[in-house]
């Protein structure tokens, strides 16, 4: 059945939580009522990327891009756009710059600079319809591999492409495949790490929700290359939509004989099962993940032996991240040289980032390696809201560090980010402005790692807790001279002595904020002052007597009864009673109250 128009509605996690499923329902209902349901098809897709504008609806063939659509807007879109051909102007996506012009999907600043390989099908196809995946060259790479390529050729192609692990470490993927292929063993495993745990990261979730078959196909290719017959996807149980779509996809692939015995009639056998993780951050570490799949406690173990030699159930195992797999089929189809032509000398291809924090276009972006941070934040990301000043971007989550304004023009790739004390990480990118206190940010990430430390090794279990205590001391105004040096010393010791990646990288947020924002630490310790005005213990709210008109509004808003004064005379805040909630400052009509 060929429809004259397609209405694509985003059903990623973000848009789903703002009722996109009801939007879909309303479209079906309204189209049926008006008798247009035979001409217009409604498709539920994965994430379009521009989550800040969600729920997103795109109408083809025009490519009209509606943002912030509510279920009750559907009636107007059908009546005006579908029936009468008049796009609903008030809902069309507008650029953030002053021009504020309406734009279609591909012409917007957000999409123009992106290059989508891993996300190529996200927001393009119905993830629960295998035929749509097949239409966009799905399972073609698997066909090519099984009928035209030897196992060595597959591994060699991945090596030559220069693809590096997208989970954060950046280990060359092809080499990993080679190591997993080398051992002679009748049983081997291919695993996929979908235990995305960094705060603020949602790249892998979006790939699984928007294009689950691309991961299944790539894992099957990997199974052929290394000689495995069974694959496992270790996915967080907190990703219910991703889990459901993976289940549907695996079912469809089995039905089409793309998983199971005798795939495509070639005699090759491979199957994939899901294993759900219960949200322990450490299970993103490879040895802990494999232990968890085996049914054991999710704890890391020393390496070597590496999983490629002795992995799941003691057998040689290949473990790659979701985004890494999402690149594989395109490399097989377009060739290693095509992939290697993108990016920088040592980092090829593209990288997906989950853009969040103080940024206009919160969402998912895929950029060629070597793009600068400035382009990501100011061009694709649409800049910082409310005209605030950029302070730093945090990449790599609790394992990474921050990039200050002076490095805005550094081309993003694995090695550059490490050289400036951060790391690529899995792709979370949190933008911070002048209102963020860097000491507090470091504390936030430390709280996370302390919570998530599995407790197996003392440097991580005890060391990170001591670091957190020191940071709490500093942010509560009890810091002493020498604290910064102590923090640094402890940080280096933890890095050197911890057992796994979690512990070894846990001090990074502290080290990198000390490196670039030592002045903020010093202000907290020596001047008992928080320059960004975040740390409550160091804050004092004061009323400027010059500006205060004595209206008493602040006194009435104050929940602690800390403000007193006479009408028409300046009021005062009693610091002993003040709970520093900021309600008075928001209430004041004369901007007479400030934080100091």
């Amino acid at each position: 059945m060929i429809y004259r128009s397609h209405v694509l509605v985003c059903a990623g996690t973000g848009c789903t939580s703002s009722h996109s499923l009801r939007i879909i329902e309303n479209f079906h209902k309204k189209l049926e009522e008006t008798g247009y349901d035979k001409e217009v098809q409604v498709i539920r897709t994965g994430c379009f990327g521009l989550c800040a504008a969600g729920p997103v609806v795109v109408v083809y063939p025009e490519g009209i891009y509606y943002s912030h659509v509510k279920p009750e807007d559907v009636e107007e879109i059908v009546n005006e756009h579908i029936i009468k051909g008049r796009p609903v102007q008030r809902l069309i996506y507008k650029e953030h710059d002053e021009s504020g012009v309406n734009t279609t999907l591909n012409d917007s600043d957000f999409y123009k600079k992106q290059h989508r390989i891993a996300l190529r099908n996200c927001g393009m196809i119905d993830p629960e319809n295998i035929d749509e995946y097949i239409a966009f060259d799905g399972y073609k790479a698997l066909g090519k591999v099984l009928t035209e390529m030897t196992r060595d050729e597959v591994v060699d192609t991945i090596i030559r492409s220069g693809l590096r692990g997208r989970g954060g470490g950046g280990f060359p993927t092809g080499l990993k495949w080679k190591f997993a292929k080398a051992p002679e063993s009748d049983v081997k495993y291919v695993c996929c790490n979908a235990d995305e745990g960094d705060p603020g990261a949602f790249m892998d979730r979006s790939v699984l929700e928007g294009d689950p078959h691309s991961v299944l196909e790539a894992m099957t290719i990997a199974g052929y290359a290394i000689g495995a017959q069974q694959g496992y996807i270790y996915v967080r149980a907190e990703y219910p939509i991703a889990v459901k779509r993976l289940r549907v996809a695996i079912g469809q692939a089995r039905e089409y004989g793309l998983l199971g015995d005798n795939i495509m009639g070639t005699g090759f056998k491979f199957d994939i099962d899901l294993r759900l993780g219960s949200g322990a951050f450490v299970c993103g570490e490879e040895t802990a993940l494999l232990a968890s799949i085996e049914g054991g406690r999710g704890e890391p173990r020393p390496r070597p032996p590496f999983p490629a030699v002795k992995g799941l159930f003691g057998k040689p195992t290949l473990l790659n991240n979701v985004e890494t797999y999402a690149n594989i089929c395109q490399i097989i189809l377009n060739g290693a040289e095509w992939f290697a032509s993108m990016g920088t000398e040592k980092s090829k291809g593209t990288k997906v980032f989950a853009l969040g924090g103080k940024i206009n276009n919160t969402g998912l972006v895929e950029i060629p390696m070597g793009t600068t941070l400035r382009e990501v934040i100011y061009e694709i990301g649409g800049g910082i809201p409310n005209g605030k000043k950029f302070k730093a971007a945090q990449t790599g989550g609790p394992s990474g560090g921050c990039i200050p304004a002076e490095h805005l023009d550094i081309p993003i790739d694995y090695d550059n980010l490490i050289s400036i004390g951060s790391m690529m990480g899995s792709g979370g990118m949190i933008v911070m402005d002048e209102d963020n206190c860097m000491v507090n940010i470091a504390k936030f990430f430390l709280e996370f790692t302390v919570d998530e430390s599995c407790g197996k090794c003392p440097p991580c279990r005890i060391g990170t807790r001591r670091m957190l205590e020191m940071l709490e001391k500093i942010t509560s105004g009890k810091g002493e001279p020498g604290d910064i040096e102590k923090l640094e010393k402890l940080a280096y010791n933890i890095k050197a002595a911890a057992l796994c990646g979690l512990g070894q990288t846990a001090p990074n947020p502290v080290l990198s904020t000390i490196r670039y924002f030592r002045d903020e630490y010093e202000a907290h310790i020596y001047e008992k002052r928080c320059p960004a005005g975040v740390c409550k213990a160091l804050l004092n709210y004061v009323i400027d007597p010059e500006k205060c008109r004595g209206c008493s509004l602040c006194a009435r808003k104050c929940p602690a009864g800390a403000i007193s004064g006479e009408i028409k005379k300046p009021f005062v805040i009693d610091p002993a009673k003040c709970v520093k909630c900021g309600a008075c400052m928001e209430a004041c009509k004369f901007s007479a109250i400030s934080k100091k």
Binding site: I82, K84, F136, G260
Partner: protein
């Protein structure tokens, strides 16, 4: 179990259905005026006839879309046909019966059906 050939068949078939989601430079556009005036003059059956005819002939490079009032309400239903690299052709007072000829002569073979075009009504 599907063979490679069967997969290719699914690919071709589904691709036809997904065509309008792709940006195509060589695409032909049929635009039907569907404002109140157009609807009142019977543009709905005309549009349906285009969709049906194009489906029947499996023309994958043609999209049918709708537009608002062009301003010539007395000549509705109005249909505009855009061939790549050519000037648009405007048909007036189109009936569902005429659609077959417009599709076969103009869209498939590239020569507009002159007697249905706007020139004959002015």
């Amino acid at each position: 179990m599907k063979t490679l050939q069967e997969l290719e068949a699914i690919r071709q078939k589904t691709l036809n259905e997904l065509n309008l989601r792709k940006n195509r430079e060589d695409g032909i556009r049929v635009v039907v005026g569907l404002a109140t005036c157009g609807i009142a003059a019977g543009a709905r059956p005309v549009m349906a006839a285009f969709v049906e005819e194009i489906n029947k002939r499996r023309l994958t490079n043609v999209t049918v879309s709708q537009t608002g009032c062009i301003g010539l309400c007395r000549l509705e239903p109005i249909v505009e046909v855009y061939l790549p690299g050519k000037e648009k052709v405007t048909y007036c007072k189109v009936t569902p019966e005429q659609v077959g000829r417009i599709v076969s002569e103009h869209i498939v073979n590239g020569s507009p059906v002159v007697e249905y075009t706007i020139g004959n009504f002015e």
